[in-house]
Symmetry: C2
Subunit: 327 residues, 2 copies
């Protein structure tokens, strides 16, 4: 077992409850939807937590607001910087605007147009880089040092994880006890936060993380109990192109997550459009990871009460339309 796996558990349910009090007046309490079609297809009773309806279109607002709300007055004044493939960027930009904190965002130049535009729309300063050659983390840390900015990491921070866990807290409050919870996994900010909440609120609930097969570092890390990495994996789940789990999230995943699974991109695309067509919800590829594991029967759910986090809906419609007609 390596250092990360043996590391301390830095987020408790109390942290999630405190985060919930902090963000409740500002975040949206997203609806929980059900589908008779999907229940009939799976033999389960499925509750979808629709974080695609969250402010800025993804769960990321929860963690970003929770982190920015805990900055000191001096830190707020100097501002924050974030590196992100998209949704975390919008989340920090929006939370910054709401809290009066200047935000600088480091984004890959090839990020979806809708995400670049929305981030600029929230008033953040954008710095782009070439995803194939540069490390966004190094660039962000250099800019932070030069300008005195606080780095808001996309997932590996206790305040981020605690914020994301509020999504599962709300799901259990609204849907009642669940036997299984399916959560998309990139760097596991959402997964680990939701796992902490689930195990506190329903100890028998099995928590399953779902990754794209091309970026299966968390699956391998989970199975080997040693931190594994990927480099810029080729997957349509752009929110799950993260290089590895982190010092905060990996120990939480090992402690609270029951299993991990992967889905192929072609399965993910099919599930995404199924959600659009049958549930009438626009979900982005990364946001459909948990639902895909369900719809592609990667997990046995017959007779169970299942929760699925639909984590985001920020997808470029023109891209999706081209994919749809090409299938």
């Amino acid at each position: 077992m390596n250092v990360a796996a043996a590391g301390p558990l830095l987020v408790s349910f109390d942290d999630i409850a405190a985060a919930h009090e902090r963000i409740r007046p500002h975040a949206r309490r997203t609806p929980v939807l059900t589908s008779a079609t999907i229940d009939a297809f799976t033999g389960a009773r499925v509750h979808f937590k629709c974080e695609n309806f969250q402010r800025m279109g993804a769960f990321k607002f929860r963690g970003a607001f929770n982190a920015l709300a805990q900055l000191t007055p001096a830190e707020r004044k100097r501002g924050v910087i974030a590196f992100s493939s998209g949704n975390h960027a919008q989340a920090v930009a929006l939370a910054g605007r709401m809290l009066g904190v200047p935000a600088t965002i480091v984004m890959p130049a090839d990020a979806p147009r809708v995400k670049l535009e929305a981030t600029r729309g929230y008033g953040a300063e954008i710095v782009t880089y070439d995803a194939a050659s540069a490390s966004r983390e190094e660039l962000a840390r250099r800019l932070a040092t030069e300008r005195g900015l606080t780095v808001i990491p996309p997932y590996d921070h206790p305040h981020i994880v605690a914020g994301q866990g509020t999504a599962a807290k709300e799901l259990f409050e609204d849907a009642g006890p669940l036997d299984m919870l399916l959560v998309p996994c990139g760097g596991a900010g959402l997964l680990s936060g939701c796992a902490v909440a689930a195990k506190h609120l329903a100890p028998v609930c099995r928590v399953i993380g779902v990754e794209p097969a091309a970026g299966d570092d968390a699956n391998r890390s989970f199975r080997t109990r040693t931190l594994q990495t990927v480099h810029n994996p080729d997957t349509i789940a752009d929110g799950a192109r993260t290089p590895s789990l982190g010092r905060v999230t990996f120990p939480l995943v090992l402690r609270y997550v029951d299993d991990m699974t992967t889905v192929e991109d072609h399965e993910l695309l099919k599930s995404m459009f199924f959600l659009w067509e049958r549930m009438k919800v626009v979900v982005e590829p990364t946001g459909a990871l948990g639902a895909c594991a369900l719809l592609e029967k990667k997990v046995d759910v017959a007779g169970l009460r299942v929760g699925v986090v639909l984590s985001g809906g920020n997808v470029d419609l023109a891209w999706a339309a081209a994919k749809m007609l090409g299938r």
Copy 2:
């Protein structure tokens, strides 16, 4: 003023309240969503009643279930027949299956694939006809006579109208008082039912019906107070290709609706995709009529609390993808 305009008001708020008790255990209480983006763009506080999340994907379930639930045991046993461009077909098929009533559906042969398939999936018998040459109403009435079936009309029946009005009743219960309500209009089953509910629950609320410009018969009927018709109008809003208002709905529209407006198909398509991209909800063209009047500024909403009924989400994704890439 012609006979229809002078006709009796056949639906009261009590009918809507009774319909609500009848359908409440079976219909979905659809969520009311808001959007900071749309509020900022319009200067209003807008509440969207998401009937695209209703069972079978549209408000039509409400009226169909309310009508079928009031059949006599003998009528239930013989079965029902409906003529519909789509959503009413699925609604009658599903309500029939839930209540054990055999359903025969007369549908245009060129109805969206997703609607034909879903109707068959609910176990109804489908009879198709050529929309350009035949009258679906005549065909349905002939089949009804031959087989002893009860005709369930798509909009012009008090039980249908009362059922559809429950959508507005729920919206007011969940969103509080509203200054304006924007409702899609085909044959005005939804519009007239919602208008009855709105005027009872919030007498100062202005109720506005929205039609596609190519099928503006209700606008002309409203302004002339004489029933006007269209024949198979060329519009992407397939749920609003209805030939005219009806004997039940026209008097209710004249009594309770404050104004009517129209939108062009290109505006409707733009608004529809705006709802997909920014609100993450899949809405069909007809379902976006009310939102389009808002987004294209056909009505003055500055400073108002506005309700918008998103009436359905049953759209063929491949059709939408082609439209999107062609714009």
